[in-house]
Symmetry: C2
Subunit: 312 residues, 2 copies
């Protein structure tokens, strides 16, 4: 499959060069020079070795099952140890089952939790709230591969075991960044007012200004389109304006607790591999003939993280 | 309406602080200091004067009418004079009417054009292809308000009459940037292979690496959710895999040609106004109590451009 987005247009066959309407000012346009061809992102993926991939850890993988299908989330316990533990406890007691997606705000987030504010679902063993884990000590993050590219929101950005992340050597802190598909913990005003009962996934332009302001617990690795295509809510902040519009959550399950035959078997490219560096470089400086300009830069949230389904 | 995204969660009522499961490592967490309250984006919008807004120019506004409703596009003739003229010529001859949205790729683009490659719809007066207008001379752009914030993809970024844009004083060029809602011209390999018969709108993370590689003609100012929620295509590159899945285009009309009573009357905040600077600053450095950290930076594609519907 060609990953190149726009090169597949085959409809631009030249049928004839009629004159421009007379009121069109002719511009001074010079055709850009051709870039030499080079490996594309798809080529870089194809050239990878089996060792460049890692299976998802079933103990840190959640399946969010909604009527339209399955969304697969990878949790990041290094960055939010207490919240990940608590979310897994909520999953274990089937807290989320029967709750709903209650919010979809365009170019922002989809959010799920308990739609019944007045009589909230009881929690048996897990916690309802926790102190925020907005950053962690840098020393806790064992596997950070830094991007050479500058970033406006953080002194250093890169990937930690497959998660887009940032760090600040001055304060000695590290954190997960808000990119497309990032999953975080909704909260009220207090930094200790969230705990995982309300979760959201980013469905638009990376809201990096939320970084360090909220606990991020992981990311969606498959099934994003099931969330991003949900009808947008018409109440303030994209909440659905009636319970009938909420999207029911059939279940959230830990992959490890799901029978093997029912698991979604995914591998993610290791972000500390040379293969991934090749992917980044293919995206950072694309070759011809379609591309005419090499960007010379990659934004953290534009760095594709390859995922593939493999036979069990 | 509060524009603040996550502060509306009222479900995080503290019901009780059960112990964390024993295997959770207690983290060293310090609650962030409170930020002083300050004007929010919503406050900055509320404080604006009527003169801080401009009506959309009906001669550069398109209505893309699909079964789900109306998408409003603003064209940017300064940046792509020939293409804008040609698209308006295509609209005038009702070229797009009866064509379709044929592609929706998650976190990428929605694209529309002629689904019938083998027997393409004839063009009466407009042109099928044009030389690309990937950049224009900087001197052609009369109203550039630069952001002080650094950008990885361009030496300078900011807004030109409401359009996110960039420029490079060294080469003396300026261009529209790919942000959420940006509208561009699909093309084949040749830089002169597009002309406006195929158009796309960005529905995900800003693909800034496409900047200067393709002709950008404007942006969607209203109705983005009608595009962003379309089912994703399952053929390569997000094309729909059968004609029955294409989304029909009822019509594309120039606002000026639509009876006044049927127009969508929108105003956009002037991006060269002090009011807009206040919006940017509210987003760049958010105040408490919800926000705990001021980002100190705004990405060009995270800069909200306020739009409002006004009585006729």
């Amino acid at each position: 499959m060609r990953l190149h987005p726009l090169s597949g247009l085959t409809m631009a066959t030249v049928l004839g060069l009629a004159q421009l309407p007379a009121h069109a000012a002719p511009a001074q346009i010079k055709a850009p020079a051709e870039l030499p061809a080079k490996a594309s992102v798809a080529d870089a993926i194809k050239a990878s070795a089996p060792s460049d991939w890692r299976p998802l850890d079933p103990d840190n993988t959640l399946y969010l099952d909604i009527p339209a299908g399955r969304v697969v989330l990878e949790l990041a316990p290094e960055f939010a140890p207490q919240h990940v533990t608590n979310i897994k406890a909520l999953v274990a007691e089937q807290y989320y089952d029967g709750l709903a997606i209650t919010r979809a705000q365009d170019n922002w987030v989809v959010q799920w939790g308990d739609p019944n504010e007045k009589s909230p679902k009881p929690i048996l063993h897990a916690q309802r709230t926790l102190p925020g884990e907005f950053t962690v000590p840098m020393t806790k993050i064992t596997n950070f591969t830094r991007l050479p590219d500058a970033d406006g929101y953080a002194p250093q950005v890169g990937h930690s075991n497959g998660f887009p992340s940032a760090r600040d050597p001055k304060s000695g802190t590290a954190w997960l960044t808000h990119c497309y598909a990032t999953v975080g913990v909704g909260r009220d005003v207090g930094s200790d007012s969230g705990g995982g009962t309300e979760l959201y996934a980013v469905i638009g332009q990376s809201p990096r200004h939320l970084d360090r302001d909220i606990t991020v617990v992981g990311r969606v690795v498959a099934g994003m389109a099931l969330l991003s295509t949900l009808p947008r809510g018409t109440a303030p902040m994209g909440f659905y304006d009636s319970p009938g519009k909420n999207v029911p959550i059939k279940a959230i399950r830990l992959a490890a607790s799901v029978p093997f035959a029912q698991r979604t078997n995914l591998e993610v490219m290791r972000t500390d591999s040379a293969a991934y560096q090749a992917v980044l470089e293919a995206q950072r400086n694309r070759g011809g003939p379609w591309s005419k300009v090499a960007a010379g830069h990659i934004d953290l949230c534009n760095a594709p993280i390859p995922v593939r389904e493999v036979a069990k």
